[in-house]
């Protein structure tokens, strides 16, 4: 029985622990400085908005951990002694391990802006950030958010529920158009404005200004404007948290460098989740995957590896999802933000600008390679099957109703979508017959 120590109790670390427990009797210790128990980081926003309390964001009841013999330790790890296989903790204790998993997550990016460390300036990643946000937003008149990714728009939504006016600076022309194609980026941009957010496009932060009390009092932009505010939310993305191993024999790049088995260069030390940088042979850029889903999948693979069954981490078909204020988003396969050579695309958007579908396929053989959908729920199983079976656009269009995962009685857009496709492609496709309402009632 070995002692497995996991640093970090986020989705990657916890999934690793659960899967080690499923297949072994090893002694497992999970160390976190952030919280006593595993919580859903993606749900932090709901705590601030009053949809949930912290307790609700814990995916397992507190008794789960002792029942599954997973020891939880609330501590900060200062250093790793690789020779002695021991960790020194913030409270002076040392703890030894047989195998070590680094699942230390991310840190918010800061790009050296003047004033970026002033009181009232913060990112949003950890539970402590959320607590700080409560303090920082007490009785404020305006907030400025810098950086238009997923966290930025979440922060804008959060602040709006507290009736705090928000100015949201993005360097892109349209929201997230470094990831999303223009049409989708415009749809979300419009929705952000609809929520009363003062979105400033193609605008960069120049300086964060301090008031007499030493707290933030405003910012200046590269459009020459000064905006008065009492909170600056810095949300230009995150980077792997490698503070612990930066100066150790464990090799790092942007993140902790690992191979496809999530092994570092040091035997018995592994890394997974946000902090891991997976080396891609023959490519200029390694992979850093900072999603909930990939953290979970990496944890599953690593759990096996640690239990003696060395497992290649395979991400599988790409998928992701998010919610932009009131509009849900799913993506399957690969959708580039700007058209690639050889790609054809189909795009449909409803009149109310709340639903859209983008499908990318090869010009030559019409095989579908990726899709984005906003405002319509679609089945992951069905889309994965289509992408795996290399279905062509005509097949996908014809069978589109089968992928619908919206609640019962929702308006079906498939007819409209196929009609739009027929107009664009000059085809005459008909949707595969879906059982009617009464047939479904008595099927």
């Amino acid at each position: 029985m070995a002692h497995i120590v996991i640093i970090g109790n986020g989705i990657a670390g916890i999934t690793t622990a659960r899967h080690i427990r499923k297949r072994s009797d090893h002694h497992i210790t999970v160390i976190s400085a952030e919280t006593d128990h595993f919580f859903s980081r993606t749900a932090l926003m709901y705590i601030y908005m009053g949809h949930m309390t912290y307790e609700h964001t814990k995916p397992y009841e507190d008794h789960f951990w002792s029942k599954n013999r997973i020891d939880l330790l609330r501590a900060y790890v200062n250093a790793i002694d690789i020779e002695k296989k021991a960790l020194s903790l913030g409270d002076g204790r040392t703890i030894s391990y047989d195998k070590l998993v680094l699942a230390t997550g991310s840190q918010s990016n800061k790009f050296g802006w003047p004033g970026q460390d002033l009181p009232g300036v913060q990112g949003l990643y950890s539970y402590q950030d959320l607590e700080l946000l409560e303090e920082n937003t007490e009785n404020i008149q305006r907030a400025v958010i810098v950086g238009g990714g997923l966290i930025g728009i979440e922060l804008a939504e959060m602040l709006a529920t507290r009736d705090i006016p928000v100015t949201f600076l993005i360097r892109e022309e349209w929201y997230w158009d470094n990831i999303l194609p223009i049409e989708e980026a415009k749809l979300v941009t419009r929705h952000v404005y609809e929520h009363g957010i003062d979105l400033r496009r193609s605008t960069n932060l120049v300086e964060i200004l301090a008031g007499d009390d030493g707290r933030v009092r405003g910012i200046t932009t590269d459009q020459g404007e000064e905006i008065s505010c009492q909170l600056v939310g810095l949300t230009p993305g995150v980077h792997p948290n490698i503070d612990l191993v930066k100066d150790s024999p464990v090799e790092t790049g942007r993140g902790v460098l690992v191979n496809d088995y999530l092994e570092t260069n040091v035997p018995d030390i592994y890394a997974c989740g946000d902090c891991a940088e997976i080396i891609v042979e023959g490519e200029a850029r390694n992979r850093i995957e900072q999603l909930w889903y990939t953290g979970r999948m990496q944890g599953q693979a690593l759990g096996r590896t640690i239990c003696g069954e060395r497992t290649f981490y395979e991400r599988g078909l790409w998928f992701n999802s998010a919610k932009f204020m009131d509009i849900e988003y799913q993506t399957y396969g690969f959708v580039p933000n700007r058209p690639r050579e050889g790609d054809a695309q189909f795009y449909w958007e409803d009149e109310g600008h709340r639903h859209c579908l983008k499908i990318i396929y090869n010009q030559s053989d019409k095989v579908v390679t990726g899709m984005n959908v906003f405002g319509i729920r679609m089945s992951q199983d069905v889309w994965h099957r289509w992408l795996k079976e290399k279905r062509d656009i005509n097949f996908v269009m014809t069978h589109l109703p089968e992928a619908n995962f919206d609640p019962e009685f929702y308006k079906a857009f498939e007819g409209e979508i196929i009609e739009a496709f027929n107009r664009q492609a000059g085809t005459n496709l008909q949707p595969s017959r879906q059982p009617g309402f009464f047939q479904r009632l008595f099927a």
């Binding site: 499923k22 009363g196 599953q300 729920r377 019962e408």
Partner: protein, 531 residues
Amino acid sequence: MSTAQQHSNSDFTPAHSHHGGLSAMRLVGLILFLVGMATFTATIFLGNYQIDLARLDQASEKVPAEVIEKLSPIAGKTFDSKVEMLNAIESSINADGSIQPYQLGVYKLWLMKDALRGPIADNPWLWFLLSVGLASLGGILFHMAQRNTLPGIKHDHIWFSSMMNRGIIGILTGTYLILFYILLYWNAEYFTNTITMFDPISQFIRNLPADQWFLYGFLYTMTIVVMGVRMFLKYRHNNYHLIRTASIIFFQFGFAFLLPSLMERFSQPSMDLKNAWPLNYSFFMDWNLSSLLSSGNFGLFLLVWGTILSVVLVPLFTYLYGKRWYCSWVCGCGGLAETLGDPYRQLSNKGVKAWQVERIMIHSVLVFAVIMTVMQIVNYTSGGAIFGDYTWRVNQTYSFLIGSAFAGVVGTGFYPFMGNRVWCRFGCPLAAILGIVQKIKSRFVITTNGGQCISCGNCSTYCEMGIDVRWYAQRGQNIIRNSCVGCGVCAAVCPRGVLRLENVNPDERFNVVLDDEVLHSVENLKKEIAA
């Protein structure tokens, strides 16, 4: 070209924010509602009392002449206090204690109604409008004020709310509801002036004076309508909830309120045609069976319908659509829970212990109800030869403990403390039967969408039945639980589109979530076979 390019530039400027506290309309609505509720409460204390033997209109039908005769010593005397009047009546008519408590309550109620003097007796319509009318109007305005907000999930600030997170306002609301139910069920004679306000409308609909049950039925229906308006606005982006709420209002207004009132108007036995046994626990009681069997064809129809509903339709529809067809589309208790109770749904306990308690309690009540009903039927067919007086005592105990205390006082009064489905989850014997059918053989299932769950917890938090939905969703397992009433809120609040309520082939409902252990051995087996 894509429609996206047709966006006009004016769309890309910030809209006027629709957040922003209490709008004028919302404030007016709130004030009207509070004034209405205050007036309603004040009516209990309004007026004075005088027994006039020549003017006992309503009581003369309900109270025997020999009891009325005993009232002559206090006749003509004016009492300012309700309590003194009631004491005087009691000491006049029941000096020897020979009247059964239940009967005594009925006599007091009708005598008090006739004895009432003062503003409500003079102007019942006016006071009805000032209380029920204002409160309803205020409630509708309060919710209508939200009509300009953007459609989407509206759960902001719920856990900061005193009303919705067991703060002082929530506690006061719960206490008010509990006191209301205690008065209604066991002390309706203290409610007479309030009941009198309902006389004109009761006369109009039923051609009968109002009693406490008419008052209750009217307020119940009105509450579902007003809070139904709230649901229509809250979920205007979600057709499932719109149709479901319309169904609830239709069945409450038509089946629970209007039809039984009309049956009474035409002097027939009255029955809520959707109220199935054993939720309707008095259906097989001897007095009901006698009443139905002695009321000609209509009575016979009710008997046959009630039996078919409970024995055939309930299991059949539950097989087809799951428990939801009844619990969150048709049922009155469910209807109140889904409208008045919706703001409290997050207060249900999601712990494993609560689940254990739930299973023990709800099935115990079912066993209790079944035993009672068997005793009733045996007693009825044997003319009381086998169980005799015991049946009556069992009925009394059930009516008091389960029918009134649990279903009413706890069922509604505990909304602000334990969520809106306390009765449905822990007590309702019909829900227990539906739950067993749903678990064993039904097409209903909540399916999960691949690996999309982010374990955020919205589904579990807003499950009124206390199901830890996330536990299933995050492992990609379909949800098939006895208690699920199919309200659809888990699917509505999910920010990643993971959950969907479906009717499928019952054999394809259970998706086995393969533990990696199993997956692993399957893979090895495949390799071995290949080799």
